[in-house]
Symmetry: C2
Subunit: 342 residues, 2 copies
């Protein structure tokens, strides 16, 4: 940032006022051909690039949006982030991405940061470990901002949300397992209390009930690969020789499914011959495991896109039909090789 070329420099050299320069940069069509040329030339000559930062003061808009996700390192979010970025870019917005690490405190911290940066809106994936309701302070902050939620809701706020039909997805997953002849299906659960997990669990239970299967069992592994891996390793001895032993496992997400896969490989339990595994998310690389993972696909890139579209409308105060404010997207069953037919 060594040198500085401002709108004044251009104005002076081109022999016009700063307003004219501003017009040439922002709405060239309303300035006379001749002056426009003249200004355009000196702009090129000085290689003048306007200071967006300064512009956003009188404009009262930064053209930034904030994106709060649990962890960018979690591959589930990469496509979502990209979806957000791509749509933003198209509309002249930039994205400020931060990681909450599923922590309530960090989430609050970043909310404040984003507000202080005066982003025009924020897309928020509510932290999983948030047990308490939102403190009043954060809540009033949220009300001051344009917010679109992804995946997880906030109790007591009617905020637009983009999500996937988790219930239906889980239901179809378990139904599929049943169709493949499985009766003993274990649910490898995500973070308890999370709306996402609860819905998937309901889908699991519902499919079981419909098929009049009373056998049910759950193991909790908080959506993480290593936890799932350890749980399986740890519980295997007592599972192995009891009637507790399932023939199939439905994991609440792919990370856990892959963790389970890893555990079984180590335990010399063949998948899917001895144990079937089904995931949820269809993350990248879920087709590169051995065997490739059968799973429920979530349109993450699309979710990112949709979230931005709604947010931009919110920012532009365009009244959105209430029906179109929130969106629920559908999942898709991806058949690969980790589930066998009994």
């Amino acid at each position: 940032m060594k040198k500085k070329c401002t709108i004044y420099d251009v104005a002076k050299i081109a022999g016009v006022s700063t307003s004219t320069v501003s017009r040439v940069m922002n709405s060239p069509e309303i300035v006379a051909e001749e002056t426009r040329q003249k200004v355009a030339n000196t702009v090129k000559e000085l290689s003048y690039i306007p200071n967006m930062m300064a512009a956003s003061m009188p404009r009262r808009r930064t053209n930034y949006i904030g994106l709060i996700i649990p962890d960018i390192t979690n591959i589930f979010f990469s496509n979502l982030v990209r979806g957000v970025q791509d749509v933003c870019e198209k509309h002249g917005y930039s994205v400020l991405v931060v990681n909450s690490d599923d922590s309530q405190e960090k989430e609050g911290h970043y909310l404040k940061l984003l507000y202080s940066r005066r982003v025009d809106g924020v897309i928020l994936t509510v932290a999983g470990y948030r047990e308490k309701e939102f403190p009043e302070e954060e809540l009033s902050l949220l009300k001051k901002m344009n917010i679109v939620l992804i995946d997880r809701e906030i109790n007591g706020m009617t905020t637009p949300i983009v999500k996937v039909n988790n219930f239906a997805g889980a239901y179809s997953a378990v139904k599929y397992l049943i169709t493949m002849g499985h009766r003993k299906i274990m649910y490898l659960a995500g973070i308890e209390g999370t709306r996402t997990n609860t819905e998937r669990e309901k889908g699991y239970l519902s499919a079981l009930k419909e098929a009049r299967i009373s056998w049910e069992k759950e193991l909790t592994a908080d959506f993480r690969l290593d936890t799932a891996y350890q749980k399986i390793i740890h519980h295997w001895p007592q599972l192995k020789n009891s009637d507790e032993l399932p023939t199939a496992i439905f994991a609440a997400n792919d990370l856990m499914a892959i963790g389970a896969l890893k555990a079984f490989t180590q335990l010399k339990v063949r998948v899917p011959e001895e144990m079937s595994i089904m995931g949820f998310d269809n993350i990248p690389f879920s087709d590169c495991t051995y065997p490739p993972l059968t799973t429920i696909a979530q349109p993450t890139y699309l979710m990112g896109q949709k979230a931005v579209e709604i947010l931009l409308k919110l920012i532009d105060k365009k009244k959105i039909k209430n029906s179109k404010k929130s969106i629920e997207l559908e999942t898709e069953l991806i058949q690969r090789d980790s589930v066998r037919k009994i």
Copy 2:
């Protein structure tokens, strides 16, 4: 962004001047205990959060840095991004991440965008497909900014760079294969012309030469999973029954190694029994393939951290010892199960 509470509001209600409020926010120690309390109270009362955007004008610093990477969706970069974010956060900086998609045009476009946003500096992973030198326009833009490069260099500019010893890494990989008894080792190459690829290729060649092995063969797959997959599938028939058939493949990165793995699984070629595979990068999930991938680890998170540290010094004009301006980090051999001993 509905309401607005400015430094004026606080000043008026607290009965002080705006400068005092400013002082309380930025250097409280220089204001009298009593007034500090008074101001702090009304700040809390109004829940005043300063407008960083506005502050950055007189401060002549935005506390933003830009990060240009090829694609955030490429898992190789996730840890790097996180490393950058974490260090930035600690120093009060925010990160603006953009994707060049390895395209020269986009790279130029974003460079301009970042400049117009007046970020205090940028961390840049030069686009792979950049064949031409940087055009004059971009070059002069680069000179106006604080830049730290990652991984790939720019000809004709002495810019700080954080990289890995690609030569040594590749050398040790191939040497390891040789130690394991392999003599016919194929190199699955990345983007040609890339410094990164060239260095890894040199490492490959050098290890071969040292062991007096004249057999060498390369396939080019531009660092991507699907290209590698297709190349293997496509070339397999002619490889299979010739003396061209290697016993081991050294892929220029893990993505390609995994692509090859996938291809061999489909071709019913057992890894590592019939074919050994070695990767480079140690990306997440490289331990979740079957078999787990033997590879060369790159400290990506650390690279991100180091890059920011150098950049911040650059920004603060702290004269850095020239020797510490650039950093070359070491790789590490990760033995897993995709290479067998002959």
